[in-house]
């Protein structure tokens, strides 16, 4: 009996030694519990967007956790079909059907990963203040509505098609606004973001991006649709 117990302990000891060391805790390291799960299926996303879609240390790849499912689905379809151009994404989703893209979008929309603390702004206080004014009040002279008018007071977006802005890094926001302004990125017609971007100067884009990059809400979910009237008509808010 005692010998059997010892053998058992010895075997258990060997097993424990054979087990691979637990990988370092890192949002970009592939990890999942069940192979047959959506969590395992979206491992293709994690090195850039983080295990829960929270974004990663790298400054460009955007947070996708908690963005409205319809927004994420629209982007995935646009990447697959080439309306939105970013070759690494175009390549990854090129052969995925609608139903699956919808499931992936829903998965990340449901994630409520905490917002990472943002790094200090690299700009002067006047620029930051200009950014705050644009984001919270807009600029009536140039006809720029406040970001918050559509993206929500918490900057967590609005159902069904408007993404949250909190948690995005300044260089991603600058990249997107610039792409919109030069006609490289589009949304469903009527394309409200194209109207906004056309009214923003380069310094305004830099200012609003640096202020937005500092926002790190405690806990934020997209606002329900149509609580507020929106300053511009947006195709992404139309029922499909």
């Amino acid at each position: 009996m005692i010998r059997a117990l010892l053998t058992l302990l010895a075997v258990a000891g060997t097993l424990a030694q054979a087990a691979p060391p637990a990988p370092a805790e890192d949002a970009t390291t592939p990890a999942f519990k069940e192979v047959d799960s959506i969590e395992a299926r979206v491992q293709g996303c994690v090195t850039c967007h983080g295990n829960a879609g929270q974004g990663t240390r790298d400054g460009y790849y955007p947070r996708i956790a908690g963005k409205p499912a319809a927004y994420l689905f629209n982007q995935l379809v646009a990447f697959r079909d080439g309306q939105r151009k970013y070759p690494p994404m175009n390549y990854l989703v090129a052969t995925l059907p609608d139903a699956y893209l919808r499931e992936i979008a829903r998965h990340f929309a449901q994630q409520r990963a905490p917002f990472a603390p943002q790094s200090a702004a690299q700009v002067d206080p006047a620029t930051l203040e200009r950014g705050r004014v644009l984001a919270t009040q807009g600029d009536s002279r140039s006809g720029v509505p406040a970001c918050m008018a559509c993206h929500g007071v918490a900057l967590a977006g609005m159902e069904p098609g408007i993404p949250g802005l909190a948690g995005l890094r300044p260089n991603y926001i600058v990249g997107q606004l610039t792409r919109w302004r030069v006609g490289d990125r589009h949304a469903a017609a009527p394309d409200c973001m194209a109207r906004v971007a056309a009214r923003l100067s380069d310094p305004d884009i830099a200012a609003v991006a640096s202020w937005l990059g500092q926002q790190s809400p405690k806990d934020a979910a997209p606002e329900p649709a149509n609580l507020q009237r929106m300053p511009y008509a947006c195709g992404s808010q139309e029922p499909k």
Binding site: P20, P21, P23, A24, T28, T29, P30, A31, F32, V35, D36, I38, A40, R41, V42, Q43, G44, C45, V46, T47, C48, D58, D81, G82, Q83, P87, P88, N90, Y91, L92, V93, A94, T95, L96, P97, A99, Y100, E103
Partner: protein, 428 residues
């Protein structure tokens, strides 16, 4: 008529009315369900044409990204310049609207357009020449049935001298052999069906037979693999057990790889994933199995000797770096010993696509990641993330070296320079 007779008459009428009313009002069994309309000969012809168009993957080249199906315009980059696939919708001005079934067969069979123009061999007529007249007619009928789209063909963008189509006469003499598929009576019907699909509509040779400097592929090197021009993916040899040779694969795994995109032995990514997504997933089980039977039976021709033990020598420091990267980044999906979780995450141990001479595909997968295609039989595929932004060239080379030689894998080491060459071509 006396009173009694009158009463009897009225009664008879009333009974008649009552009986009619009962007959009309009484519920009856529902009418027998209409027989599902048997498809007409025309319907069957068009359905067959559609099936064959998928087997031939016409849509992949003849549809622009975001464009109307079959309306052409998609650029095909080649070492000689860009070719633009033409409009094959039945528009009378810009497509095939005025073509006859004879015109279409000549084009498919001989590579000659309706007006006598010689086609560039980007159109795989060297394969399509095997297609039977009956199948050509079904394809023709189907293409005439899709919505016509008015879209002018874009002229090819070829430099001198390749813009001179007279050169094609020489190319055709060297590399084109016209002729419908001839069944081999010594082989089974299943083998012959597979051969017909692989050599003909499947046009597998376009990628899996190396293309030489003249853009020709030599029959003696059939299915021996090669780099896909301008795509920077390596199409492995189908005849070598050291590459994608399928001699020791179970038939079901070959059929699965083709039709489902994943199998217990390996997974399709990149250009092959597109072929499965656009074309092979729609094959019937019988046709997928027939192709598997033919591919499995291809003669073994290892063009290169297995690497010597000298060639397989690895610097222990590189091996250790590779092992560390593997443990952190790869083991969660591919297993501590490279055993994988097939078919979700492919095994790396004993996987020919890992150990084959060309490391191009492995390097690309580590840099760019990839998803298996979403197919009818595997609509929610697993995927691999990109590591280009997390691993430097030395780490990429080390981890690929590690999986190529660990677990009795008989591959050779990879250098950081090889990783860097492909990093420069990253989709960015």
């Amino acid at each position: 008529m006396n009173f009694g007779a009158r009463i009897a008459f009225v009664l008879a009428i009333l009974i008649g009315i009552a009986a009619t009313a009962v007959y009309i009002l009484h519920p009856r069994a529902l009418p027998a369900p209409a027989q599902a309309a048997r498809p007409s000969a025309e319907t069957r012809l068009l359905a067959r044409g559609e099936y064959l168009a998928r087997a031939g993957d016409c849509v992949a080249c003849h549809t622009e990204i975001n464009g109307q199906p079959f309306a052409g315009g998609r650029p095909m980059p080649t070492p000689f310049g860009a070719l633009y696939a033409p409009n094959i919708t039945p528009d009378e001005e810009t497509g095939l609207g005025l073509w006859t079934a004879d015109d279409f067969y000549r084009m498919l069979h001989q590579g000659v357009s309706r007006d006598g123009t010689l086609l560039y061999p980007a159109m795989p007529f060297a394969s399509y020449t095997k297609v039977t007249r009956t199948d050509s007619d079904a394809l023709y009928a189907y293409l005439q049935s899709v919505p016509p789209v008015r879209q002018k063909n874009r002229p090819h963008d070829l430099g001198f001298p390749f813009n001179n189509r007279d050169l094609l006469i020489g190319w055709r003499t060297l590399y084109f052999k016209e002729g419908e598929f001839q069944p081999d009576p010594a082989q089974s019907a299943q083998w012959n069906r597979g051969a017909y699909l692989v050599q003909g509509l499947g046009h597998c040779a376009m990628c899996h037979t190396a293309i030489n400097a003249l853009g020709g592929s030599s029959e003696s090197k059939a299915f021996e693999g090669g780099m896909i021009p301008n795509q920077n993916w390596y199409a492995p040899s189908l005849t070598s057990n050291r590459e994608a040779g399928l001699g020791d694969w179970p038939l079901q795994d070959i059929a699965d790889l083709l039709q489902t995109g994943v199998s217990h032995r390996g997974t399709t990514y990149g250009p092959m994933a597109e072929v499965v997504y656009n074309s092979l997933q729609y094959l019937s089980d019988e046709d997928a199995t027939a192709m598997a039977v033919y591919l499995k039976a291809l003669p073994r021709r290892d063009s290169e000797a297995p690497p010597t033990s000298q060639a397989r020598l690895v610097d222990p420091a590189v091996m250790e770096l590779g092992r560390k990267v593997y443990a952190v980044q790869c083991a969660a999906c591919h297993g501590g010993e490279g055993e994988g979780h097939a078919p979700a995450f492919p095994p790396l141990k004993g996987n020919q696509s890992i150990t084959m001479l060309s490391p191009v595909n492995s390097i690309r997968m580590v840099l760019n990641g990839g998803y298996a295609p979403g197919t009818l039989k595997n609509p929610r595929p697993h995927g691999m993330p990109p590591f280009a932004h997390l691993l430097d060239d030395a780490q990429v080379a080390a981890v690929i070296t590690y999986v190529r030689v660990a677990w009795e894998n008989n591959g050779t080491p990879v250098t950081p320079a090889q990783a860097n060459d492909l990093r420069k071509l990253l989709p960015e």
